[in-house]
Amino acid sequence: MAGESGQGGRTGTIFNVQRGSFHDGPGIRTTVFLKGCPLRCPWCHNPEGISPAPEVLVSDSRCLSCGSCEAACPRPEGPLPAGSVVGRDGCLACRACVEACPSASREVAGRTMTVAEVLAEILRDRPVYEESGGGVTFSGGEPLGQPIFLLAALEACRREGLHATVDTCGFAPRETVLGVATQADLFLWDVKTLDPQRHLALTGVPLEPILANLAAVTRTGVPIWLRIPVIPGVNDDEASIARAAALATRTPSVRRVSLLPYHRTANGKRDRLGRGTDPARGASPTLADAPSPTPERMAALAALFAPTGIETTIGG
């Protein structure tokens, strides 16, 4: 949705602004997480970023059962349970329950921020970017899901001389991708699986437009770092990784490949979203308890990129 007063007034839905990020592009960066993603990957490590709407998170372990949220909530039935979309079911989106919660066990993922607000936050670390060759990274969720905001924010960064990176799954209308490519200095392009059928089955969207967008971006010359989450049972076999290496080889603007070992990070967040590890609520029964690939395994998979001549890192 567009704001009223020029580009700086445009608003987006943000669920985190992470300063001091070492691993989202070159140097030390601030990563802005935009809410909403068209994919439904079962291994998603930011499940609070999937829905475009603000959602209620509740940490049961921190809750004091003090009743502050109930006393503060104007809704007759009391505050919404974990995982609810703010503003639905009679919720006034007043966030009084969140304000009232003394232990911060009740939070909302997602708040509306203007480009100017986001930029002010980003600029606080300008000396860090200058010293480290860092900048800002727009991630998510899927940042291309809020194209008007993203473009305005990228333009604002450009005016400030900041290095701007976009971390994307690549699933967006072609014109959006190319529009963003005119403003971004670098793409982090996530590649899950290169098997079209499995891609559709696992993420809920087809692979083909993603690859077509990647090819289109390549022609613009904007550099790309491929990021491959290595997921047990999904793409942690040599054949899958070799296909990714082949993709990297035929995509000339790929400057780096990062293999990201799967971790069970999301379980805690899923708990706070009230989804737990219940497959009926979107959790993967196989991934909830899956171990991370071992360092040896990661090294072996990374070695498959050696013939490409492209710098390959594990993590980051």
Binding site: G20, S21, H23, I28, L64, V128, N267, G316
Partner: protein
Amino acid sequence: MNPRTTRLRQESLDTLPTISAERALLLTEFYREHLGRLSTPLLRARSFLHLCEKKTLFLGEGELIVGERGPVPKAVPTYPELTCHSLEDLRVLDSRPKTWYRVAPEVLAAYEETVIPYWRGRSMRDQIFPALPAEWHEAYAAGVFTEFMEQRAPGHTVLDDKVYRKGMNDFRREIAAAISVLDFEHDPEALDRREELLAMDVSCEALVRFAERHAALAEKEAATEPDPARRAELRKIAEVCRRVPAEAPRDFHEALQTYWFCHLGVMTELNGWDAFSPGHLDQHLLPFYRKGLADGTLTEASARELIECFFVKFNNHPAPPKVGVTAAESGTYTDFANINLAGLLADGSDGSNEVTHLLLDVIDEMHLLQPSSNVQVSRKTPDTVLKHVLRVLRKGYGFPSIFNADTVVEEQLRQGKTLEDARAGGCSGCVEVGAFGKEAYILTGYFNLVKVLELALHDGVDPRTGARLGPATGDAASHATFDDLYRAFEAQLGHLVDLKVRGNQIIERLYATRMPAPFLSVLTDDCIAKGRDYNAGGARYNNTFIQAVGIGTVTDALAAVRRLVFDEHGLSLADLVAALDADFEWNEPLRQRLVHKMPKYGNDDDAADDLMLRVFRSSFAAIDGRPSARGGTYRLEMLPTTCHVYFGEVCGATPDGRHAGKPLSEGISPVQGADRRGPTAVFRSAGKMDHVKTGGTLLNMKFAPSVLAGEEGIARLSQLVRTYFRSDGHHVQFNVVSRETLEAAKADPESHRDLIVRVAGYSDYFCDLSDALKDEIIARTEQTEL
């Protein structure tokens, strides 16, 4: 390490700290005969000579650098002329669970029969306490401040390059020249100067005697040594000890032995705080290193071996035993001898060199508790040096600590030092700044900012005891605005700083007149030229520091009061104070709100950081610029050692949600766990303080090893350091956390909320992770460390 240094290191680690009564007995013997027959400076110098001539020598198997402070390694002498331990003190030292020292029955007997009967009532401690006003004693007992000089002498001193250029015989010639120009006709202090200079001369002679005794011992052992290789080493040791410190050193071995004799001399004369430090060791050793390599008398391996032998010596010397409040404020065996690396040369050029890297390798390989090490990073320091430091630091030893050489210079220029002296200076102890070899920069004690706030909230009365410690500035209900409360805070602060300074002035004067340090004066410019003792203002520069503790806690407390009471009107100040007095009993939701929902210093949030600045400015205004009894100036420092724990024990609950008795924040670090926005936000917050106006600030930061993995992790960390230093940050110390810490964090998440761990494609706060993931990361950390 080679087999020799591996063994020496292990022996040092395995040796238990003990108390030795030898020094106390020798001193008692000397004082009994000579007290009243000599001027005070000569009494001190002659007793130093007596110690150097009589003390038991130690020459360990395989040692190359020789000399111990006690009769054997880790045998710690006592200083009954400063503090005469009671039998009860000695039993406590022997039996306490932390920083104990074994006390043998014969030590107890010597104390009971000889030492205590002579020194009780004569020690400095027994002279200081009765001289201080009752009000001072009440504030001291309540934990408003501590007093460094009640058990240890003023010290904290660092050597410059003079002993590598001059021997004791050179100093004696300078002393003779200074005596020859004394003007008895016009200078009313000429006699005092002569006595002081004669005392300095005796102390030079004493150290030479001490070295000659070592030479004789080595010669004697060489005569009976069956192994020809060791025989040659013993002869070399004898040759070195015949040469230095009487004359200036000629080679690398002599240079190290020279410093070590000076170190032992300073630590035998008195037990000055923070031992004694060599300063810019890499710069001092460089000419000897290059010369030795060039003329073939030294190799990198032999230089490394000598440095390792030298390091073991520091580790053999636990801090002199401390009891009571002083043990609480500095509860550690570390005596804070600190080796400086890199930095600047006096001409302003980069001071790092190949010996910097050699020393870093030794620090890494030996990872001993002592000596501490630090690096001074200037704009000119190459990244290769900083990255080498960070690769050592990443292993989780907690050292070297990192200082901003450019800020260190600027701080000293503000204090009125010359540019050259400032550049040749640096940091010692924890983070304190001084002009090496030219300054007496005396720390006087910690000052409890949180107690000050507690008094402001309670009309000047200590809620713990009911004792009135400060002026009546009104009870909680009387403060209608935040500024009213802040004025009360400033009034309490001013009153208690005045009281602390009154005490310091008395103590400084007692040391100046009754406990001179002639040997330390020889090593400190311009004591010879002035004919004045180190403890009496003889040094070129004289700064006296008060170290403020708890600025993070007091900032968060004030921020919470301002937000909750005066902005949101959620609670009256009187009700908040009542909740604090009850330590939040039945009021956990209020405490949680204070912990989670109020502005916190360390998050680049001006709502908190502005108050940090306000408290800093008030503290600075109360302390900086006041004249000291030594003719110097009072200055502010921001460091705690372990005093934030003791000060926390004497403070009730605070408006930041801290429970009664829990530790305060340390240094200028945020309250433990309150910084939730990552390292760049901490640096931004801490960088808002005007570090240049201090004599040192201390910032600690925790990282998990995995965050700093690989060369990219090192690059990022070095960039963070450079960024902080661009904002004039004085010091930063990285704690790369261990498995134990992670497990403690899992058991007690609230105290570890700021712990950052590398999770997957991003880093996160450890405590925000699920238990299963925490377990996984704990396991992963071990893999990282394999």
